[in-house]
Each structure stands twice: as structure tokens, then as C-alpha cells.
């Protein structure tokens, strides 16, 4: 089947867990897949982009790279069974211009997680404090791999603020997208992962999904990382840290919670991270 399936999310929202599940699902082997040999790459990895582009992106300006982006996707979409992980918002918050080609898109799975937990996980991943991470999640100009003084191995990826990110993917008219809450993936994995596979046109036989889920269990991923490291961790801080929901209750101050809720309350309410009256769920 042609066309790209996007595994889209704000960082630290279950995307990598799904990718490792998917690698196990596609391999369908008795032993778990090596977490450092997971096939699905970030669309922003330069080698793929450069191959489809015909230039070295490191020789181009950021503007030239953005201008070619949708054309690159349309080239890659001609290949078979293409999946990419992405952290960009669907449209750029500053300009409203699309960062994804509808022509190139077969489907999108959108992973979202309580932003109160995202803050914890993201701040740990980046080695930045909580307040810095909250500011980033509230910033319309936020960009991953923005590297100005050095060439980042990945292309710059505009995320926008957290609410923009969620809405840009889930409210894009006519986009074939399925929302997956991290909390539901944890609570009802077999049902949620299987539904995602069916939506994206991936293998979805119940036994096969169950086996892939067992291979991608949090404890297995953490054990593999402890034994051999994980290439996607930043500066060797553990990537697979807790893998649970609600950790924010033990760490965030009232002020920090308020800073997130005041910026993202509307989207939080829509996805059950905030009660209708604005109070936090127990």
C-alpha cells in the first residue's frame, strides 16, 4: 500500500513505545526485537530526507529545507509501506502553513498524553528543569533540533505549544487520523493497540498483537536499555524511566500545575485530563 503512515505526537507521549511494539509486530518473532534496531525512523533524519531531496540538507538554509518538505514527502510516499515518527505539529503555529502533505498521507496515528506527565518526562529527557520545560510547552515558536551553532543530526522540527500540537493534528479537516491516549494504551493495551493497527492498515491478528505487546512491555524495554543502552536517549539519561501515568502528582508544585492548566485547560478538558468544572481528576 502506498502513502505514508505518520506516527505523530508531542515528545514523550508514547510514540517510541508504539514504534517498538510495531517493530515486534512486523518482525513477528519469538524473541523481542533489539530496541536499537527499530526500523521506523524520524522523518527529520537527514539521510532519508536528503536521498529523496537530491541535495545535502546541511548545505541548504532552513527556509529552503521547509520549502522542499512536502515534495520530499510525496517522493517518499511512492515507496511501499512507509512509516515515519514525527514530532512536528501538522501546521506551523507561527504561519499556519502545513508541514505535512495530504497527498503523501495514508493515515496518521496521533499519540497524546496528559501534559502534566509530559512535563516530567520531557524535562528528564532534555535534562532541563520543570519550569523551563513548561515554558517550552507553552511556546508557539518551540522547535526541536533547532541547532544554530551546530548541525543537528535531525532537521528542525517546529512543534508549537502543546495545545496547538494536539489540535493541529486532530482538528485538521479531512485528515485520516486516530487519537490514542497514552493512558488508554497503558490501561487497555490489547484493545487500543489493535484498533490502531486496524486503522493504519497494519497486521492486527489478536495473537500477533498480544505477542508484540509482550515483547514491548515496559520492563523489557528498560532491561534492554540498562543492558545495552538506547540510541535515542539524550546524553545517556535513561529513556525508559517510569512508563506510568500520574507521576506528576508527586513532583509538580501547585504553581507548575496551574501554569499548564491555564495554558492548556481547554484541550486537557476535551481529552479527560481535566474535569468539566476545571478541577483535576482524582
Amino acid at each position: 500500500m502506498k502513502g505514508i503512515v505518520w506516527l505523530a505526537s508531542y515528545p514523550k507521549s508514547g510514540n517510541t513505545w508504539f514504534r517498538i511494539f510495531l517493530a515486534n509486530l512486523l518482525a513477528d518473532q519469538p524473541e523481542p526485537v533489539d530496541i536499537n534496531a527499530v526500523g521506523v525512523e524520524n522523518f527529520g533524519c537527514r539521510p532519508n530526507y536528503d536521498r529523496a531531496l537530491g541535495w545535502e540538507s546541511s548545505d541548504l538554509t532552513q527556509e529552503e529545507i521547509f520549502q522542499a518538505r512536502l515534495d520530499v514527502q510525496e517522493e517518499l510516499a511512492l515507496e511501499k509501506n512507509v512509516l515515519f515518527k514525527v514530532h512536528e505539529s501538522f501546521r506551523r503555529q507561527l504561519t499556519g502553513t502545513p508541514l505535512f502533505s495530504r497527498t503523501a498521507t495514508r493515515a496518521a496515528l496521533y499519540f497524546l498524553r496528559n501534559p502534566l506527565d509530559v512535563v516530567l518526562s520531557f524535562s528528564h529527557h532534555n535534562g532541563k528543569d520543570i519550569d523551563n520545560t513548561i515554558a517550552r510547552m507553552n511556546c508557539s515558536d518551540a522547535m526541536m533540533a533547532a541547532g544554530r551553532d551546530a548541525l543537528a543530526p535531525q532537521l528542525p522540527q517546529p512543534t508549537g505549544d502543546w495545545s496547538w500540537h494536539v489540535r493541529s493534528w486532530l482538528d485538521e479537516p479531512g485528515l485520516p487520523v486516530m487519537a490514542l491516549r497514552y493512558e488508554d494504551m497503558l490501561a487497555r493495551p490489547q484493545e487500543v493497540f489493535r484498533a490502531a493497527c486496524q486503522f493504519a492498515g497494519l497486521p492486527s491478528e489478536p495473537d500477533r498483537v498480544a505477542r508484540a505487546l509482550a515483547h514491548a512491555k515496559f520492563e523489557n524495554l528498560r532491561a534492554q536499555e540498562q543492558a545495552r543502552g538506547f540510541r535515542e536517549s539524550a546524553e545517556r539519561r535513561p529513556f525508559f524511566r517510569q512508563g506510568k501515568a500520574g507521576g506528576w502528582r508527586e513532583v509538580l508544585s501547585d504553581e507548575q500545575v496551574a501554569a499548564i492548566v491555564s495554558a492548556h485547560g481547554e484541550v486537557m478538558r476535551r481529552f479527560g485530563y481535566l474535569n468539566a468544572d476545571g478541577s483535576l481528576p482524582k
Binding site: 536521498r51 529523496a52 541535495w55 546541511s58 522542499a68 517522493e75 544554530r148 548541525l151
Partner: protein
């Protein structure tokens, strides 16, 4: 060839073992005398927006046997023909600096493929053992490493693109590129320089040019050894590993400069034969360093120098 050699553009340079005639000065290239036969011409002209006979394509290129069209919307369209001509149609407002620097990237890569040469995405230094080649993805330190060896007194053959050919006896050799490093600010700082006063690679990019006219190796050198330079975050220190022939082939394919043009240019078989000859005759080592943002130039250079002198 008749029409090509008439009305030659006025400026002459040597690059990758070729004498080229260009329509504007290319200050980064070593000059060549006017009475030497010209191998390739860079000239202004009309370039079509499409190449109807293309065999393969990408977002910004079309490839057909003997022809490659490649473009950047706001800079120029380039048509590369038969290994001896690059026609440039600048876009309105494009600056000469961008026209020139981009010409030396993808269009030049296509010209080299059309001539039956093997351009690798690599830097190369001259050692008493012969040419030592560093292959790596963008941003993984191949230029920084070569510039560091320059500071250690080695001459430099090429930065970014190292062109391999086979001499009369079939021995692989590297042709001299041109004496200029392209470096990001972190590399410039790592090498102990300041970016102040350095020319920019592109007018709107934080990527700088460091010329090394004195440290340039101007004659081709047989290849002593190939290195693949990687950064991995599951390592504590620098490691080396000798590569098998199949591993060498895989890396040479990955690090062939503009490999995506090769099938469309009709050169897939010839290209693979060159890779096979190179892999069969030349030792190669993978050098990995921890992916933690530190270059470890001294340590890398010690390990590599220890390896190629052994």
C-alpha cells in the same frame, strides 16, 4: 564536443583532477593556466524546468542517462550534461556566492558520476602511507576531523566530497578537491578558531568556510585506508572495528555522494563495480565515538593515526 569548446568562459580552475572553465571567478578553487585543455565548462544558459526523459527523480532532481537536472527554487536550476558541462540558470535575486557554492555540491556530484568517477561523501587527508578517507553522515565530524589532522601537520586532499578513481594499474586513488573546509560554529570553536572574519558558506547560513591554501595536497594519492566515522550513544569511549568486504560495500554505497542519481544516470552497474574494486583492495575501519556532543578530536586522531600507521 565542438560546441562545448567554443566560446569558453574566461576563468580556469583545477578541481577533483579536472580543469574547468567558469563564467565567474570561483575564489575557492585553485587557478589553472589558460592554455591547458578544458575538461568541463560551467556556463550561464537557459535550463528547462523539467527533464521529460528522466528515469528517476526526487523532490529537487531529475536524472536521465547523460543528463541531470537539479534545482533550488530561490537560487538556480542546474543542468549537468555528459560529464563536461554544467549550465546554470540563476533565479531572480540569487547571489553569486550561493550559485557557486551550490554548484560545487549536487551538480558537481552529478558531473563526477557522469565522468565515471566515484565521489564519496568524505574528507581525505594525505599521510606517508597514502590517502586516508573519512566517510560520515552530515554533522558527524568528517570535516572537523580532517581540519584537526591539518593542525597536526597533515596535508588535506578534500573536504565533504572525496573523489576516487583507479590509476593505470587499477589502484584506487583520491584526487585533490579544493582547499576549503565547510564548518559549523561548534567545529570552528573546537579547532580553536573564531568565526569572526570567516566567509559564510551561504549568505544566510551559520556555516563557515576555512581556507587552507598552504596545507593542500595538489597531487592524487593512492588510498591507504578508509574510515567510517560514527557517533553512538551506547559507548563509553572511542572504539574501532575492522570491516568485512560486505560491510565495506554497504558503507561505500551509503556514503557515495549523491548515490540517488546513479541509477537514473544509467551508471548503477559501473558504480557497483567501482565499489567492489575499492572494497576488495582497501582496508576499512569503523571508528565510533560516544554520541554526547563532544568531538574527542585528540583521542579520535590518536586512535586513527595509530591504526593507519600500523
Amino acid at each position: 564536443m565542438g560546441s562545448l569548446l567554443e566560446n569558453l568562459p574566461p576563468h580556469r580552475y583545477r578541481v577533483y583532477g579536472l580543469t574547468v572553465a567558469a563564467w565567474i571567478p570561483f575564489p575557492e578553487l585553485p587557478p589553472a593556466p589558460l592554455d591547458v585543455p578544458v575538461d568541463a565548462v560551467f556556463r550561464l544558459g537557459e535550463v528547462p524546468a523539467e527533464l521529460p526523459e528522466f528515469k528517476t527523480k526526487g523532490a529537487r532532481f531529475r536524472a536521465a542517462p547523460g543528463k541531470l537536472l537539479v534545482w533550488i527554487d530561490t537560487v538556480a536550476r542546474y543542468l549537468v550534461r555528459d560529464g563536461n558541462e554544467i549550465i546554470i540558470q540563476p533565479m531572480p535575486g540569487a547571489e553569486d556566492n550561493d550559485l557557486r557554492e551550490l554548484l560545487l555540491c549536487s551538480p558537481m556530484g552529478a558531473l563526477l558520476h557522469q565522468r565515471g568517477l566515484l565521489p564519496l561523501h568524505a574528507s581525505a587527508i594525505a599521510t606517508p602511507q597514502g590517502a586516508v578517507v573519512f566517510m560520515a553522515h552530515s554533522g558527524r565530524g568528517k570535516s572537523t576531523l580532517a581540519a584537526h589532522f591539518r593542525q597536526r601537520g597533515f596535508k588535506i586532499l578534500a573536504d565533504d566530497v572525496a573523489v576516487v578513481s583507479f590509476d593505470a594499474t587499477g589502484r584506487p586513488q583520491v584526487a585533490p578537491g579544493y582547499p576549503q573546509f565547510k564548518l559549523w560554529p561548534d567545529s570552528v570553536a573546537e579547532l580553536g578558531h573564531a568565526t569572526t572574519g570567516l566567509r559564510r558558506f551561504r549568505t544566510k547560513m551559520e556555516k563557515f568556510l576555512l581556507a587552507f591554501p598552504d596545507g593542500f595536497q595538489t597531487e592524487p594519492l593512492p588510498i591507504a585506508r578508509l574510515y567510517v566515522v560514527e557517533a553512538r550513544n551506547d559507548l563509553d569511549g572511542v572504539t574501532t572495528e575492522a570491516l568485512s568486504v560486505p560491510q565495506k560495500l554497504r558503507y561505500l554505497l551509503t556514503h557515495t555522494y549523491r548515490a540517488q542519481y546513479v541509477p537514473g544516470l544509467g551508471r548503477a552497474q559501473a558504480h557497483f563495480q567501482m565499489l567492489s574494486r575499492l572494497a576488495a583492495t582497501t582496508p576499512a575501519t569503523r571508528v565510533s565515538r560516544p554520541d554526547d556532543g563532544r568531538f574527542r578530536l585528540d583521542q579520535l586522531a590518536e586512535v586513527i593515526a595509530g591504526d593507519f600507521t600500523s
